[in-house]
Chain length 693, copies 2
């Protein structure tokens, strides 16, 4: 490990500044924990009032220590911290963990102090974890900086979190950890740096994140995309709701951001999102257990028909299908089944168990199923009321034995009963069988496993290659908004088909424009104050001739004047009238951390209510654009609902990809709004647009 993390995770010498002389319960003494855990590291307590703590000589200040110090841990009141950091810089140390709370997580003074601390280390090469952190854990090499004596368990999981609870509960939550870094307020070391480190660390096989908010969203996406191809990155993002986000800002000083933006970023980066705390637990354990899965066909062994049905329901919702058993498997199982029982999947072994007992029933069936080429995964349901002795033969033992011989096929257990927790640990500690406590949690986990290995990467070939139009380089005029024709011109230049149209400042100009474009035409009011044209009467369609235009011009301006008395009308837009097709919306909006976020969705007057929209971080590829469409009900409509002719999907993909490059390539654009974008069998056409600079 030649790395900046060497000093944090495998230091040779550690100074504990603010080391307490109190020991025992409720003393929260880091030294005591290090000692209890047997960390093999040189420990130097720093405490001006103590001569010795727990057998270690104490020093008045870090500057009084003559030995080299790799890592300083500061756990004092917050007022003392800046001075202590100054001393660490002077010493110098390599890394500092600031445990102390009361910085960006607290008041204005705290935020200032945090900035000061970062200024002090700036340019020195000294790195800081925290403030407001439990620090680090390295279970591979037995080192930690925690001030509570938490049960440790080693597993190939790399954790990055913004709360000590995930380190505290590691054995229960993740089934153990390899490395953990609690980045706390992330004043210096943040998600991206640790993620990058876990990506190249061979001992880390699964990366789990607890995230309240991230800085450097783009970099996070690039890193995750690169890493997720080799090892799964799982994230439990909190601060998703308004209340949660508000609390996050005062917990770790994080900007929680908009959840749909994170959702888009995670999808594009191949990050596995855990929607719940239970999913964080389940997904982490699942990916630690299984490194591949051949497909989504599941054989279910049960002794309870009712449990099998619950499992089928759950599987169906998670993209898993019951395996069709081969004739050989069916024949084999038939031998132990009563005459009246058909062999089907789920395979209910109960009648056979009553007749032949467990061993003669389960063992051959499990083996047979794992050898069936039509079976990709095996799931077993069992009741656990005790944990058997090593010598006994029991269902879980048969599962373990068979699973060890077929490491290519995941084997999972849903167990219930009084000893289910004990049995779960018993099984998971012994081999490649994952244990879940409900059919839904099992199915969610195996479903995610299947999706990760079969759908997250390698979908390229299946979608059209989109030729990207250049976003253009001429800077747009600073500030303000481009409406109507101005906006359409920018879009047209970026390769997005726009309706032919001309801005007209008077009735005469409107008549002239209509003549040039050719009837029928549409007419739309142009005014910075009017956003919803339909509601204010600012739109007239299917105008067929000069007289119609005159009448429409008069009545439209009249209605708009009545409904929006304050609006300054800059003119009207005369456009070719395109009827039919599906109304869509397409746009982008700049996010603070992730840059331009693309939105696509079903348009029309109910857009805001139907909320059939999807998001991606721009730019997007053709396949990402296709996913965007597929995530909304617009997909079914566009591909020809109820016998209608489908729209030109390729033209739509091209428009989405081109818009994404326009948004990504022109930093002066803060928002683009095409509404509606008309999609028809012959192509797509932007009918109206707005660009905010």
């Amino acid at each position: 490990m030649k790395d900046i993390f060497e000093c944090f995770l495998r230091p040779k010498s550690v100074a504990v500044i603010g080391a307490s002389t109190r020991t025992g319960p409720e003393s929260f003494n880091i030294l005591e924990v290090m000692k209890a855990k047997g960390c093999r590291v040189e420990i130097y307590p720093v405490n001006p009032k103590a001569g010795e703590i727990l057998g270690f000589k104490a020093y008045p200040s870090i500057l009084d220590i003559s030995a080299e110090i790799d890592l300083a841990i500061i756990a004092t009141g917050r007022q003392a911290v800046p001075d202590l950091v100054r001393q660490c810089v002077q010493k110098p140390v390599k890394g500092i963990v600031i445990v102390t709370q009361g910085f960006a997580d607290a008041d204005a003074e705290g935020r200032k102090m945090q900035e000061l601390v970062i200024e002090l280390v700036n340019g020195t090469g000294i790195r800081v974890i925290g403030p407001n952190t439990l620090g680090v854990v390295n279970n591979f090499d037995n080192f930690l900086t925690a001030f509570v004596n938490v049960p440790l368990k080693c597993s190939p999981v790399g954790l990055i979190c913004q709360s000590g609870m995930f380190i505290n509960g590691q054995a229960d939550i993740f089934g153990g950890l390899g490395y953990a870094v609690d980045i706390g307020n992330a004043a210096d070391v943040g998600f991206n740096e640790v993620l990058e480190f876990y990506g190249r660390e061979e001992r880390i096989e699964v990366i789990s994140l607890h995230m309240e908010g991230i800085r450097g969203g783009r970099r996070f996406m690039d890193l995750s995309r690169e890493i997720a191809v080799k090892k799964p990155v799982i994230v439990y993002k909190t601060g998703r709701t308004e209340e949660g986000a508000h609390a996050a800002s005062s917990h770790s000083g994080s900007l929680a951001g908009e959840d749909h933006v994170y959702e888009a970023a995670f999808r594009q980066a191949g990050v596995v999102r855990a929607e719940t705390f239970d999913e964080l637990k389940d997904f982490t354990r699942t990916f630690v257990k299984f490194k591949s899965v051949p497909g989504n066909r599941v054989a279910v062994i049960t002794f309870t028909g009712g449990g099998g049905i619950a499992l089928l329901d759950a599987m169906d919702r998670c993209g898993l299908v019951p395996a069709r058993l081969s004739p050989e498997t069916t024949m084999e199982i038939k031998k132990i089944f009563p005459d009246w029982l058909e062999v089907s999947n789920p395979i209910d072994l109960w009648p056979s168990v009553m007749k032949y007992g467990y061993e003669r029933t389960y063992l051959p069936v499990i083996r047979r199923l794992l050898d069936d080429p039509g079976v990709d995964m095996l799931v077993c349901i069992s009741a656990s009321h005790s944990v058997p002795d090593e010598g006994t033969a029991y269902v879980e033992k048969f599962l373990l034995e068979a699973a060890r011989k077929r490491p290519d096929k995941p084997v999972a257990l849903w167990n219930f009963g009084s000893s289910r927790h004990l049995m779960a640990s018993h099984v998971e500690d012994r081999g490649p069988v994952a244990v879940y406590s409900s059919p839904e949690r099992l199915a969610r986990s195996l479903g995610v496993l299947y999706r990760y290995y079969h759908h997250t990467f390698g979908k390229q070939g299946s979608t059209p290659q989109i030729k990207i139009s250049p976003a253009g380089t001429g800077l747009l005029p600073g500030g303000g908004a481009l409406l109507g024709a101005e906006a359409m011109e920018v879009l047209g230049g970026a390769g997005i088909p726009t309706v032919r149209g001309r801005l007209a400042g008077s009735l005469e100009e409107a008549l002239e424009a209509a003549r040039e474009i050719g009837y029928p035409v549409a007419m739309k009011v142009v005014s910075r104050q009017i956003v919803h044209k339909t509601e204010t009467g600012g739109i007239r369609l299917d105008i067929r001739d000069r007289d119609g235009l005159k009448e429409a011009y008069r009545s439209m301006l009249d209605e708009v004047g009545r409904k929006c008395p304050g609006a300054v009308v800059e003119g009207v837009l005369i456009q070719e009238y395109a009827a039919g097709g599906v109304e869509l919306i397409l746009g982008s909006k700049r996010d603070h951390e992730f840059g331009p976020v693309l939105v696509f969705g079903l348009g029309g007057i109910y857009t805001e209510i139907l909320k059939e929209v999807s998001f991606r971080i721009a730019p997007v590829t053709g396949s990402e654009a296709l996913e965007m469409i597929r995530e909304t009900k617009a997909y079914e409509i566009l591909t020809g609902a109820r016998g209608r002719e489908g729209a030109d999907l390729e033209a739509l993909l091209r428009a989405i990809v081109n818009l994404s490059h326009l948004a990504a390539g022109r930093p002066e654009i803060s928002e683009i709004d095409i509404n509606p974008l008309l999609a028809a069998p012959g192509g797509v056409l932007a009918l109206d647009a707005r660009i905010i600079l």
Copy 2:
């Protein structure tokens, strides 16, 4: 207990027919289990080949027993069952539990045998549970018929299930049971009878169901509605998906039915639906713990800011809000907070714990919060790495003490850590604190608790009273379908406003009809072969005069003829043309178990894709109709989206209620389809309809 269930749940004498002489592991011996559990009941083994089993004298046949027998348990091969039932009838016994599998759960022969068994007991007053069942459990009086020695735990829960797994896992799943009846194939005793019994049994406080399919859906709704006012009825319905439903039919011979119909029935009957196995567990325990809740304002005590945020996110999605602390509470807590930490909810006690220790921090804060009139529930987050001795002071103990003094306010714990299971049992066994293993599960459970006590019942006053129009009594012509004007007439008679219209068999009749109705008119093709009129060109709107009608008539018949060459056109419907308004669908369809099921939703050409529909079992009340609308996005549109005038909601409610009474009151109607139903500020109007008889 003067009841038909007396003989099943508290028999004085039991004959075990097919009693095995094998004992020990894998013998599945009912006698042995009864003996092990110390059931105080006269036991009579019936086994022609044994003289004595486990110290009980064995009899060759039940007819050889001279004593009276309350309950016979049959656990033999299936072929023997009919004869044994005959003997039970001859004896006679009061109740029979048929454990044996291979009846309606198996093949055609099994189904026939099941019918035979029911015929045999018919009219005798003898009741049957099963076949294919683990039978019953009565933990209050220590009786059970299970053939596996499952751990028992008593709690005031009444279980009805279709799989023995719920009896097997009772302690783990429900935290114990009072009564359990596994109805198995439900050949005789079914859900409704047991439910009714639990409803009047005082020892049962919470009723939990595992349901694959029900017979007598209407009766179930009536019963549940009546019972759920007094005690919660929770249901875990499986066989929800196609795969699951298929498996259910071969497991308990159940017709799983359509899930949206069950969903509607559960809602209307006030049944709490558990979407997952975990919810079945959590909800049952929650309702056992808490018998009321004053509101939805939650105070959260945490020692991990990160956990608090996760909890807020989860609460937000479940209708729970963070409590605003009173000035008194805030001042009290401020005393132990560091200067830099603002008092807010979640209340992060960690800095205070570091300074004052657990007892001086938690105890006063917990008490203070429970006395705050702005706090309805208290939730605490904690780490459990060990279970403390009785003498020790610890967070959970403080919680229990405080909770006992305020039984009116639910107190809950989310705990994690290596000993969380042990701590959960420790706490739950000691008092009124419920323990959950994740923030989401906690929030779901308390959210459901709140909804049950505040929203499931007693919403009457808030919605308009709808005057119900009589459904009419004249029987409709048998068979076939009513289209257009015929259907409209039936609807009009039932109090649903219909557009004025006349059927015309020729152009001349069409012109005459239009003259009578007055222009503008709409014209629609009438043909039994044409369902989607829009797509086939069978609809013309806004026809303004005679010439327009002539032209439209010609072109419509032309287009229909081209697009549906096989369709027999019976004529055209001429209607007044009503523009504007929101297009809805309203209809009903008869379900096998629940009768007419009402559907309401957003109409228009994308109805099938948007799937903004809701269902209820007919008839419905005004408030149920309002809920139907609210469940869809039509509600926002109808109440005036984007500044438009809202539709006449009361007229819509009246139409829904009237249609529901029409569907429920006229058994000859199998399906009604109003599409579209136009809702405008001035009222609603059925524009087209179809009634299938």
